[in-house]
């Protein structure tokens, strides 16, 4: 694994040059934040609150360190925070409703020898899992849409709000397609072993449909998709607001 890591670093520096150091530094901070998150939750801190705080840190790193244009970065950051709140609001009732937390009969081999009375709230952790899963996708989507829209608005400052929204959707269309692919293919990657095991356990179709792990995986993918979809109107609105302020300032001067 060390050799693989060295290969990664060498290739990264070859392709990105000095920027590679910034990238590695950002990745380092993210991994450090995640380890802090793990230790805090294992020590009994509230999983939801800890996740929210660490997520904000991660979003700051992911957006401000990767985006050079401060205008784009601040809009993308605001969007990501809003989306995170929306994801929480959707996930909390859905997880409560589905009670798809923790692990299940399929994990029996992994659970052997463990004390299951761990004192950690796994229903809360299930919500954290979805939020963390969405962080990368959300920050990338918001940055991509914001920078695409800002470029259009800068070139044509006299745009009407409905034009901004139209352009937001045409930029968003492509990003929605590619992000859905990313999420879907990752769903394939993580679930094909699960489906294989489920088959060997002889589940019926209705049992698969209600299976805790299957439902948890599908919910994660779907909720992340909802996050990506909602990024488009929220970004468009924020960009429109900013453009509006600028115009007002210019006319009052």
């Amino acid at each position: 694994m060390l050799y693989l890591f060295l290969t990664f670093v060498v290739l990264l520096l070859m392709v990105t040059g000095t920027r590679g150091f910034t990238l590695l530094f950002g990745l380092g901070i993210n991994i450090f934040s995640i380890i802090a998150l793990l230790i805090l939750i294992a020590d009994g801190f509230n999983a939801l609150i800890t996740t929210c705080i660490i997520s904000v840190v991660i979003l700051v790193v992911a957006i401000y360190m990767n985006v050079d244009n401060p205008n784009t970065a601040s809009t993308a950051f605001k969007t990501s925070l809003l989306i995170m709140v929306v994801i929480l609001l959707i996930t909390i009732p859905l997880e409560y409703w589905a009670s798809a937390q923790g692990m299940a009969a399929e994990n029996q081999d992994e659970l052997e020898g463990f004390s299951l009375a761990a004192g950690i709230s796994y229903p809360k952790l299930a919500i954290s899992i979805i939020v963390i899963n969405s962080l990368g996708v959300i920050s990338e989507t918001s940055v991509a849409i914001t920078s695409g829209l800002n470029e259009i608005v800068d070139n044509k400052p006299t745009m009407t709000p409905s034009e901004i929204f139209d352009d937001g959707f045409s930029v968003g269309n492509k990003i929605l397609n590619t992000q859905t692919n990313t999420l879907l293919f990752n769903f394939f990657a993580s679930t094909f072993p699960l489906f294989f095991v489920i088959h060997s356990l002889g589940y019926k179709f209705t049992e698969v449909l209600n299976d805790k792990l299957v439902v948890a995986e599908i919910l994660t993918t779907l909720i992340c998709t909802i996050g990506v979809i909602l990024t488009v109107p929220i970004t468009s609105y924020l960009v429109y607001q900013k453009a509006n302020k600028k115009i007002k300032k210019q006319t009052s001067e």
């Binding site: 693989l4 392709v15 937390q101 709230s121 397609n177 293919f185 072993p193």
Partner: protein
């Protein structure tokens, strides 16, 4: 506007109807399904385990009414014991629908009925898509085709007992990326360009990683610790890498090649070397965010098991080695693929574009 509103209303109604249908579909179940009417807490005991974790074990009596089978309408009650942390057990609440199994004369809970939540969430995604001006048809077609291909893939690996896992994964990966590209870009030369870049970058990244890993004899990589310890270990390991990195690389290569095409259209006399250089510059910006996407997915997927290890008195180092090292190795291979895509796409795109776009 009015027409939009009508479509939206129609979609909303269909979603609500289908969700409602799954709420009342218990007659389709072979196992008895109940709706929980009343829950009484019988016993509560707090215990501390050897790792100083305090948890509360609660026994509840659950009273519910049958929704199907010949006992429909009758009430039934059973005891349920759970830990407050609910790692593998479940707390039942009033209003929930629960699937039971009959053992002898007694009923025991088997599973929470989750299909309503599932269908509702799918409906929510569809409804949100209709709320906005997205090009939905293309997206739905590509998702549908890819799910069908994945379903076929699953069926074949199950029938062949995983023996042809890797070659089949490669074929599936080639198919689903072709579908994704054809649906997004259409049968254009850009799609072909993106396709060849994806294939080459992924192949080189995998080949290089296999070489580097086997040089160290897979030291520090516990391929046998995959989810459910599914065999063949290495096959499952690389199949997961291929699937998870594919979407990200497609995204990257499309971004780079479409920017280069735009550039060529604006500056007709741009040279091949300049195009290549701009490709690298554009790609550089993409690497960080794309690695981040996969990093958080890897962490999130393993969060349950990581915390189980940590709460059982294991050190963070041992926990990471046992639970995350496999995912992180997969992430490194993916990251190498993401990096290699930049020069590969820039090279192919700059060559093709100078010849094709006039």
């Amino acid at each position: 506007m009015k027409k939009n509103l009508r479509i939206l209303l129609l979609v909303g109604l269909i979603v609500a109807f289908v969700t409602g249908l799954t709420y009342f579909d218990s007659f389709m179940y072979h196992d008895p399904v109940i709706k929980v009417q009343q829950v009484k807490q019988l016993d509560k005991s707090t215990s501390t385990d050897e790792y100083k974790n305090t948890d509360t074990q609660i026994t509840q009596r659950v009273i519910g009414r049958f929704l199907n089978t010949k006992d429909k309408g009758k009430t039934v009650s059973f005891k349920n014991t759970y830990y407050q942390s609910q790692l593998t057990d479940t707390k039942y609440t009033v209003g929930q629908q629960v699937i039971l199994t009959k053992s002898g004369h007694a009923y025991t809970p088997k599973n929470v009925k989750r299909d309503t939540t599932l269908v509702f969430t799918i409906g929510l995604v569809v409804f949100l898509m209709y709320c906005m001006k997205f090009d939905r048809r293309k997206l739905f077609i590509s998702i549908l085709l890819n799910v069908i291909i994945f379903y076929g893939f699953l069926n074949i690996i199950i029938k062949t007992h995983n023996s042809v896992l890797l070659p089949l994964t490669v074929i599936t990966a080639l198919l689903i990326s072709a579908v994704a590209l054809l649906v997004i870009l259409g049968p254009t030369y850009q799609a072909l360009m993106a396709y060849s870049s994806t294939v080459i970058a992924t192949t080189v990244a995998l080949g290089l990683s296999v070489f580097v890993l086997s040089m160290s004899g897979y030291g520090g990589v516990h391929v046998e610790l995959n989810d459910f310890e599914l065999q063949p270990y290495k096959g499952v390991f690389f199949a997961q890498v291929i699937f998870s990195v594919l979407g990200v690389i497609l995204d990257e290569t499309m971004d780079i090649s479409s920017s280069l095409i735009e550039m060529k259209k604006e500056l007709a006399d741009v040279e091949e070397a300049t195009l290549f250089k701009s490709g690298i510059n554009i790609g550089r910006e993409l690497i960080g965010p794309l690695i981040n996407i996969l990093l958080f997915i890897v962490i999130a997927e393993n969060l349950n098991i990581v915390l189980l290890y940590l709460s059982n008195g294991n050190s963070i180092g041992y926990t990471v080695e046992m639970t995350l090292s496999l995912g992180l190795t997969q992430l490194l291979i993916s990251a190498i693929g993401i990096i290699l895509t930049v020069p590969v796409t820039s090279f192919i795109a700059s060559k093709v574009i100078t010849k094709r776009v006039k």
